[in-house]
Symmetry: C2
Subunit: 200 residues, 2 copies
Amino acid sequence: MVETTRRQAIENAASALFHAHGYSGTSVRDIARAVDIQGASLYAHVTSKQDVLWSIVEHTASRFEAAVDAIEVADPGGATFGRGVYLIAFVRAHVGVVTDDIERASVFVHEWRALQGHRRDEIVRRRDAYEERLRSVIADGVRTGTFHAVDPVATAAYILTALNGLVGWFKPDGRLSSRVIADAYADLSLRAVQASRPPS
Amino acid sequence: MVETTRRQAIENAASALFHAHGYSGTSVRDIARAVDIQGASLYAHVTSKQDVLWSIVEHTASRFEAAVDAIEVADPGGATFGRGVYLIAFVRAHVGVVTDDIERASVFVHEWRALQGHRRDEIVRRRDAYEERLRSVIADGVRTGTFHAVDPVATAAYILTALNGLVGWFKPDGRLSSRVIADAYADLSLRAVQASRPPS
């Protein structure tokens, strides 16, 4: 239990530092100082800065995947309730994960490129599979006439990067709550792609 | 003239390296190797890596500003031809600058945070002034009923980060041309905010 807590404190500190200064701009010493432990002792908990980055990015990837898995269970690919409803649920779920832990989300969005070797390959693959779910729902929506004739690849990229942009400005204590932004961004995303106006 | 060309070559090489490996992940030696000159000689052209970054970011900021200035001259704030027309022109102009030099645009989008001191302050100020033009046109459009009741700050951030996301995937020789993407992204952005369907 103590181990888990210490590890968590290290990842919290690292997330804040990576968010503020980037992965390259943060040293193991910076992380150690932030959690008030000696560098040598830190290495008992973490073998390297790469390990901390991996843990943060992998955990955040899992949170995004789990949030969308929950939608899939209720409405696989939007086949039951429609692609518009799926898109709204997807945007709300994604915004929820981003705003729930803005520092880890920021590290996930900006610093995954600093991962090395097979870990980087795995995240590239999982990011692509995640985006593919959105592409596929958009393509289905175009086919069924729910959405207008957008390009699914360009459109999924447009929507996902718009949502990820929140890591650059969202403040938990800011003027706009997570819920307000989630609703607003779901509305913008749906309107961008839908073939006709939503029922008012 | 020789000086200008050499300087240009250095900035081209630095843009490609910063785009691929980040500012922190690139050394002056890497840049020197890419332009095939000795490190010591490089310093005759460039006093520091910060100077090269500044030159790339400042030049790109000026290109974005000039592209939108051209719209302002024809249609200040969208007051003449309407906020929808202005938004379409803004998105096309922004996408044009991004896709015209994807490496410099990528450095502008991702690496401006690595600028230090008053240069960083200046870029923060200019980015905000640029985004404020979009916010202001969105606010005007909401007021005049051209756009539905979106939040101008959240919506400008949504649109701008969606457009900037192109630096992560646009390929000059890819399936979708700059022109096709500019039109598609202008269409998505206008549909996202407009109060009613465009005349067909």
